[in-house]
């Protein structure tokens, strides 16, 4: 198409090039600052807690572990705490934070609604219910078979995974008629599914014994307290596909902002994008809930913040949400560990305490924009 105007003479085209260049620069700066903040908090996180270790000492231990420092340092108590207790906890927190934030961004893109969130639409509740069922009924089932076996740890993430998958699919099927997804139906159905899962979880709590009840309470508030290398080795392989798939979903999600029919016109395999996103969200939310309990508001707060910083382009939004989610959870974990030393607060309490007021502020701000 040779348009009426030749490219060289398009007035304002150079201004446009300047504009895009300055946006790219802004995005680069924002990404750099976020990444720096994330790494800084990670370093602090390894030192912070009831047993405080100076950041310089932490760096020495890490270097020693990598082979460039005195090896006897690795036998110290500090090294034990940093490498075997805080490191897996840090990595688990970063992984779960990244997974929850990306899941939130994916759900918001898929449903074309900035208020969608794995927690708000009942998916976390489904995963939590399945995890509760695994805790309470899993032991009984094994005891009933009289084999005297202990429930393997991997049963929990898988149970939660299938819970998340089933509730995600149920929600999507309920909200989709003739290929069109109704956002209002989705939110209402999500509330209903969440209430159903909540009531069943309550029923399970009612029939559980004291130990199971304590475990259940742990799910409902979320904690990174039980982190270990073995737990991490179960969760990481489930969550990593989500992180890897992100670059392949970004363009499709961008096109979906116009609507599903329009995305199809643009050459996007809409159905494949939807199915992939749904499976990945169920996978990662299920694994996250299993490993760290229900941690609210990360999925909604982080993508919103990133959109305010760099705009809604998913090619940047998704990776920066991952970094932002990791940053928020690592930071919240530091707060959770320091605020009631020597005990620690469940991290779900901290993220909701930050997240809920922020969410309200967003709603008020949106209201003002709509009025003006």
């Amino acid at each position: 198409m040779t348009l009426a105007v030749k490219p060289a003479t398009v007035p304002g085209a150079t201004a446009l090039a300047r504009l895009t260049a300055s946006r790219r620069q802004r995005n680069l700066v924002a990404g750099g600052i976020l990444l720096g903040l994330c790494l800084l908090l990670m370093l602090l996180s390894l030192g912070a807690g009831a047993f405080a270790i100076a950041p310089g000492r932490v760096a020495e231990i890490l270097l020693a572990r990598l082979g460039s420092g005195p090896a006897e340092l690795l036998d110290s108590r500090e090294a034990l705490v940093v490498l075997n207790i805080r490191m897996p906890r840090l990595l688990l927190g970063a992984l779960v934070g990244a997974a929850l934030a990306i899941s939130g961004a994916l759900m918001q893109g898929l449903f074309r609604n900035p208020l969608a969130d794995p927690g708000l639409v009942g998916v976390s509740a489904g995963a939590g219910l399945a995890a509760a069922a695994t805790i309470v009924l899993g032991d009984r089932l094994l005891a009933g078979m009289g084999m005297g076996m202990k429930l393997p740890f991997a049963a929990l993430p898988f149970g939660a995974f299938f819970g998340g998958l089933i509730s995600t699919l149920a929600l999507y099927l309920i909200a989709t008629r003739e290929g069109r997804t109704s956002v209002a139906t989705m939110l209402l159905a999500g509330v209903a599914l969440g209430a159903l899962a909540g009531s069943l979880t309550g029923l399970l709590a009612y029939i559980s014994d004291d130990r199971q009840l304590r475990d259940l309470t742990f799910w409902s508030m979320g904690s990174l307290g039980g982190a270990s290398w073995s737990k991490l080795s179960v969760v990481a392989p489930i969550v990593l596909p989500l992180l890897i798939a992100v670059p392949f979903l970004a363009r499709g999600l961008n096109a979906l902002m116009l609507g599903e029919a329009e995305a199809f016109h643009l050459g996007i395999p809409v159905q494949r994008i939807k199915a992939t996103a749904v499976v990945l969200v169920a996978l990662s939310v299920g694994a996250s809930v299993a490993a760290a309990g229900v941690i609210g508001f990360v999925g909604i707060v982080v993508p919103h913040l990133i959109r305010l910083l760099i705009g809604p382009d998913h090619r940047l939004l998704l990776p920066l949400s991952a970094i932002g989610g990791a940053t928020l959870l690592v930071g919240a974990d530091i707060v959770a560990r320091l605020i009631v030393v020597p005990a620690e607060l469940p991290i779900g309490i901290v993220t909701a305490f930050i997240g809920a007021p922020f969410f309200l502020w967003l709603l008020l701000r949106r209201g003002r924009i709509a009025e003006s």
Binding site: L3, L266, D313
Partner: protein
Amino acid sequence: MATILEARDLHFRVRGTALVRDASLQLDAGTTSIIVGPNGAGKSTLLKLLTGELTPAQGEVRLDSAPLAGAPAWKLACQRAVMSQNQRLAFPFSVYEVARLGLEGVGRSQPRGRSEQIIAEALETAGVLGLASREYQTLSGGEQQRVQFARALCQLEAGRSVAERQILFLDEPIASLDLCHQLALLDAARAIATQGAAVLIVLHDLNLAVTYADRLLVMHEGAIVAQGAPAAILDDALLRGVFRVDLAFSRLPPTGLPFLLPQQHLRAASGPALRAAGA
């Protein structure tokens, strides 16, 4: 003239109601075809059947002699761009980013400089280059419509490096535009046809349809009741039967082209000058 798209005996039903019945048509390279018809006549549904968004219950659409059904989305996207009536956008993209969405499917392999050139040209043609940094959702309906047009132009231009025989579908593209931009958009669409693409537009304004159509298709209750050159098929019987208005076409002196001015609807008590015009 080379036919790019051919549709034969298309039927489409929703819950027993036939939205499109027995529709056959062809879109030729270098021509502008315009669909007119009253509300609910099935114009948009027919357009969706032709773009592959809907699959007909009976009949077949062939694109470059190959069946449209089952063709992968990316392949179709290289060969046709669609501007639908939907102008909503879920998140606050800038005008520049909305136009760039036209390249998300087909423009992946373009170098960045080429993409920016395509986008700048499309924004310029649609008359929204000056709005490039504005947030799309803050624009007026007419401005949004022009940005959507720019997006379709981007897709068409990027797809040209893959498929030469292209189609541009526009569903009521000028519904919110002022007269100046109505003409500019239709001129741009016709220019695309002149360069070898087929253009199909759904329009309501009969005068503009007569002005721009090489081929006019009149739809009524799901069927194409007339198609051909506008001057040959538009008459007063059609106005009464299809559009349910009791009006008469006038003819433009040198060409004999029909045009419509609802003179009969002038208010009787609007003053002497108007009464004179109505008489």
